[in-house]
Symmetry: C2
Subunit: 415 residues, 2 copies
């Protein structure tokens, strides 16, 4: 098995040596680790921290980055985003997924939950580029019966690989009726897969749900039909009252905060402090690039921390919690044995460049990462024991960018 030894790296505030064997952390010690490692990295310029786990994304939407902004939600969707998305081919999704993964690696993310179309193309890009993903198969009422059967059949056959798993992804309660939701839940249970859905994102969704379902909120409705479990991942979860939060806590479902998207689309404010107080599981995500407009979890951490304080008080959204939300809690949400640097855990890590001006002085590394850093502070990304970025270079990045550009040019030109 390949071994990777990182010597003299700042970890938990002290200089340590870290040995990775295969895809796991084998040994972590302040003492010299005597081993003839396949590769040795001098960590003296670096701190080692867990990388980011992006809890909610539509990766290939980077193809629409900046295509339409500053519009009312419905005009944005109906007139700009959906007509463009209708033109996307499988090859486009592949090119977009590669660009998205490149951007994620360069900003320290090694895992993302995805919800889009042509999931096999996103999976192909993930496998090739060395990251992890939980890739949703998207379901909506508007799909034909045959199409739905085909998607459920695909879900039934998908087996997780070392880095890729699949999830059942009904889009939202306003695009997926009770019958299809129940079929999704059954499939998730039978296949041992996670279920992910957008929930309680807008006031309109909340009002429509109450009208359609005897006054029940989106959370109450989902609970009433048995859709909430520790393997349910909910994106946005903005409009939730005290009762909703108690249901969420009891269910063990994970609430993924998407601060940039919620702010940009004026959806509302994620109640981080209340959700934590009520014992809800939380994680952090970027959403797609057309409502963000990047996939950078460092941006997202700062937004989440500041938004929590802006909405509550200056003690809310503490940096230590925000950092866990972006790392450990994100990994745990998807059942990954990762998200912390510890012996036996999956070997995912970042090497942080301590000479970056934004990290000076270094009174508190976590605070610096949450409030001051940007992606230029990340030198090296390790996923599943392999170095996938070193000295800020990802193998093949030029070609990935050229392919994405050509795809966008073609997309615009295409009728």
């Amino acid at each position: 098995m390949d071994t990777l030894l990182i010597n003299n790296v700042l970890l938990d505030g002290i200089r340590q040596n870290v040995l990775i064997e295969g895809n796991r952390f084998k040994a972590i010690s302040t003492e010299k680790i005597e081993v003839a490692a396949t590769e040795v990295v001098d960590g003296s310029r670096f701190a080692m921290v867990p990388p980011f786990y992006n809890g909610h994304c539509h990766a290939a939407m980077v193809l629409l980055r900046g295509f339409a902004d500053d519009l009312p939600l419905q005009a944005w969707l109906n007139d700009s985003i959906w007509p463009m998305e209708a033109k996307l081919t499988a090859e486009d999704i592949y090119a977009g997924s590669r660009l998205a993964i490149l951007e994620m690696i360069k900003s320290g993310t090694v895992f993302f939950e995805d919800m889009y179309w042509e999931e096999q193309e996103t999976a192909r890009a993930v496998e090739e580029m060395g990251v992890r993903a939980a890739i949703g198969v998207s379901l909506m009422d508007r799909q034909s019966a045959a199409e739905k059967d085909r998607l459920f059949e695909r879900l039934r056959h998908y087996k997780p690989t070392e880095r890729v798993s699949y999830t059942v992804a009904p889009h939202a309660i306003y695009t997926v009726g009770t019958e299809l939701l129940l079929r999704c839940k059954k499939a998730a249970d039978e296949n041992g897969q996670y279920l992910n859905i957008h929930l309680a994102e807008t006031m309109t969704e909340d009002a429509d749900c109450r009208k359609a379902h005897n006054g029940m909120s989106p959370v109450e409705y989902m609970d009433s039909i048995g859709l909430l479990s520790p393997k349910t991942i909910l994106a946005h979860v903005v409009h939730v009252d005290q009762r909703d939060q108690e249901i969420l806590a009891r269910s063990g479902a994970v609430c993924v905060h998407n601060p940039a998207s919620n702010m940009k689309l004026s959806s509302g404010v994620f109640k981080m402090k209340e959700l934590q107080k009520n014992g809800c599981r939380i994680a952090l995500g970027t959403d797609g690039a057309s409502s963000n407009n990047n996939l950078d979890m460092i941006d997202e951490m700062k937004l989440a921390a500041l938004l929590a304080k802006c909405y509550a008080d200056s003690e809310a959204g503490a940096a230590t919690d925000i950092f866990k939300m972006a790392t450990q809690w994100g990994a745990e949400a998807f059942g990954l044995d990762a998200g912390v640097i510890a012996e036996g855990k999956l070997a995912d890590a970042l090497l942080i460049d301590l000479d970056n001006e934004k990290l000076v002085p270094n009174y508190n590394l976590v605070s610096n990462l949450v409030y001051a850093a940007d992606c230029s502070c990340i030198d090296t990304v390790i996923c599943n024991g392999k170095i996938i970025m070193r000295n800020r270079v990802v193998p093949g990045e030029k070609e990935i960018i050229e392919q994405a550009r050509a795809t966008c040019d073609s997309l615009i030109a295409r009728k």
Copy 2:
């Protein structure tokens, strides 16, 4: 005079050639510019945009970056920030200013308004490092009469240089009484200097002002004593009602938005959409690094855009306005003949790396810069006709960081 020719650069959506002579843009053309320039830059990988003008900063506070976070305001100030600041020497301020300016250059900022102590040290760093600044001489009631006289005397003697001007900077209406405010205004008028102050930052300030001044809001009070003019720069300006905004618009005073700081300290939300509707002049600033915790105007643009939408609707805080707020409107606020790329204007510019993954695709460069970019997208910074960063390297950065680190180590150790 030195000339700098940048060929084939993307400017306003088309490929152009840009000639800088001395410190101004001499010629901008789609045609080849026939000149034997002192230096020629191939712009084909780049877009040229105006750089950032940081409307409110306490530069040397980078020395306290991450020293204390996630605390209530008064505990943060009384127990953490002020005791540390009391230890700062002139040499510390110089080291801190250099680190701050390094960070600003690396994130595309060529000008900042500063309000701190030992202003001559910040000025020294600004002159050496090639940027611009309007440097405040800070005044507070708690200074002795002799100290105040000394500071006003310094202000009277300060003459602006090509890149540095000085401002009269009463700290805030809760630390500076009417008498000293009037003396500041008189000095500013006599010396031809700008006056800058924190205003309407917190609810407490608003309540205390109304109690002390016959029910007047901070804006009404400032107006009543004649302190508002087009040469008055107001930082924060969070708690302002319709009447306040009409006064601000009529006065021509500039309101500097500091979104990260206002959010982090839970001060309240800048009413960007309303202020614009009421015809108020606005600009953008980072505030000091201990309430941000960086000096990156790209972060600040994204925060300002998203916060405007979160507070109002998805059409508020449009990217075009946000970009102007960080560039042109900021330069105009301080009377600089800069902030746009045009013949005759002061030659300040950024070369943006179009191959950065966050700028792909490039449907809309301004949108990409506001919502997607980070400092890694900036390749070159030009200020006053001189290149002060190229290929992301600022001359002497290693030594600047080492000096700042040593200063912080000494500061912590010092009784």
